[in-house]
């Protein structure tokens, strides 16, 4: 279907989010869902990013501010713990870094090419200037 031209697709199209029957979606976590190829979950906007967030779990207090304010469902939280970033769907807006309350921050923006391990090794220490 994705290969159809602009004048070929059906009028009044109906897209199915899942393959087959989907029951209790609200109680099924993303990894347990059977997404169809029409669901934007299967697409990626990773190429929109200029800067990417890097997550340092050593300083994270699992407050979940980043989870609730992420516009792109890219902060993955399971069992009340923040476990990582969904790099396929992150657009690099930087809201997660702004709302992070820890000192030093547990999330920082780096340019897309930065090596994650190098960034983690050179993580800034506590900023004494702030309260």
């Amino acid at each position: 279907m994705a290969e159809q031209g602009w004048d070929e697709f059906e009028i009044g199209a109906m897209l199915r989010s899942f393959n087959g029957e989907a029951k209790d979606v609200a109680l099924t976590l993303q990894e347990d869902r059977d997404y169809s190829s029409n669901n934007s979950f299967t697409a990626s906007v990773a190429d929109w990013r200029i800067e990417k967030p890097v997550f340092n779990k050593d300083y994270c207090i699992d407050c979940q501010f980043c989870w609730v304010y992420c516009p792109d469902i890219s902060i993955i939280s399971r069992d009340k713990k923040m476990i990582g970033i969904d790099m396929d769907h992150c657009k690099g807006c930087g809201i997660c870094v702004e709302v992070c309350p820890t000192n030093p921050k547990s999330l920082l923006m780096y340019s897309e090419q930065t090596d994650e391990e190098q960034a983690l090794a050179a993580w800034p220490s506590k900023d004494e200037g702030e309260k």
Partner: protein, 318 residues
């Protein structure tokens, strides 16, 4: 009526399974999807959703993709509200006749629209839905401008903002008319619940959405949605701008029950001057020039007057 989902704190909220997906084409830092996520995660009930034409609609349903994991429909610019109202009427009819396929499940009806689709183009349709008493919720994603088509002014654009059809320049300070009070207009339909919400106050938002979904009858929600493109601020500052808007009382959070009982739900501990809110956005940049400086004081006076009015209405209980 379904059980109300228990959300005591943010950690508990974060166990929700999102029904709105990433890789939608909304701008980075767009508040629309933050609001939609907070709304959808507030309930576990089945949802029938509709969107009016606008940023949210064009960005979440780009053929061949959909970003919605619930039933969702788009028809036209004006009729997101009536599409859902029609579905609701059908649902009630089938229920009455005992022909629902899954009568034990609880289903909620929610329509989303931008401020253009709600304040201007779909106004009559929404008014009709509210008047007919459908059991539905209408949510305005209020970014105060026609953001999808290039930033034309809408009747939600506040005074002094520069929009592409009311640009600021040597002869004009931008938009001449002030924003219309949509919540008051909708409350005047004597609907059981209407409220203003902001994405940065997630708990207030969840509480109001849960109340609204469980109330019988039409519900109107006005959600502030800072627009990084048209308000002209950095994408990372979306929550900062929201905080400034609620703390400066430019966007007060309150609810109106049964069309008359007004409750203020958020009182900032430290009130921020409106000037800070204006200074953070590019669309108000020109107000800081010498010739338009008087506008800032007018802004502050008007915001204070509105706050005074809300407080007095809350006290009077009328």
């Amino acid at each position: 009526m379904g059980e109300v989902k228990k959300i005591k704190n943010l950690k508990e909220f974060s166990t929700s399974a999102d029904r709105f997906e990433g890789a939608n084409l909304l701008c980075p830092g767009c508040a629309h999807s933050i609001i939609v996520r907070e709304v959808l995660n507030a309930t576990n009930d089945d949802l029938i959703l509709a969107s009016s034409t606008g940023c949210l609609e064009v960005c979440t349903a780009v053929y061949p993709y959909t970003s919605w994991d619930a039933s969702w429909i788009h028809i036209g610019f004006e009729n997101g509200s009536t599409a859902v109202a029609g579905a609701e009427a059908m649902y009630q009819a089938l229920k009455r006749k005992g022909r629902l396929k899954q009568p034990d499940r609880s289903t909620k009806f929610v329509a989303f629209g931008g401020d253009g689709a709600s304040y201007d183009i779909g106004f009559q349709w929404i008014s009709g839905c509210m008047e007919r008493g459908h059991d539905m919720m209408y949510i305005v994603l209020d970014n105060e401008v026609y953001a999808n088509t290039g930033g034309q002014r809408s009747s939600a654009t506040p005074i002094g903002a520069s929009a592409t059809t009311s640009p600021a320049g040597r002869k004009s300070y931008g938009e001449k008319k002030n924003k219309k009070d949509m919540v008051a207009i909708m409350a005047a339909h004597d609907i059981p619940y209407s409220a203003q919400v902001a994405p940065n106050k997630w708990k207030d938002m969840v509480k109001k959405i849960q109340h609204g979904l469980n109330v019988e009858g039409p519900v109107f929600i006005n959600a502030m949605s800072p627009c990084t493109t048209e308000w002209k601020f950095d994408p990372k500052d979306t929550m900062m701008i929201s905080d400034l808007a609620t703390d400066s009382l430019v966007f007060p959070l309150y609810e109106i029950i049964d069309g008359h009982e007004l409750n203020i739900t958020y009182r900032p501990k430290h009130k921020v001057p409106v000037e800070e809110y204006l200074a953070a956005q590019g669309r108000f940049k020109h107000l800081f020039k010498a010739e338009y400086k008087h506008m800032i004081k007018e802004w502050q006076d008007r915001v204070d007057a509105t706050w005074e009015y809300l407080q007095r209405r809350e006290e009077a209980r009328v």
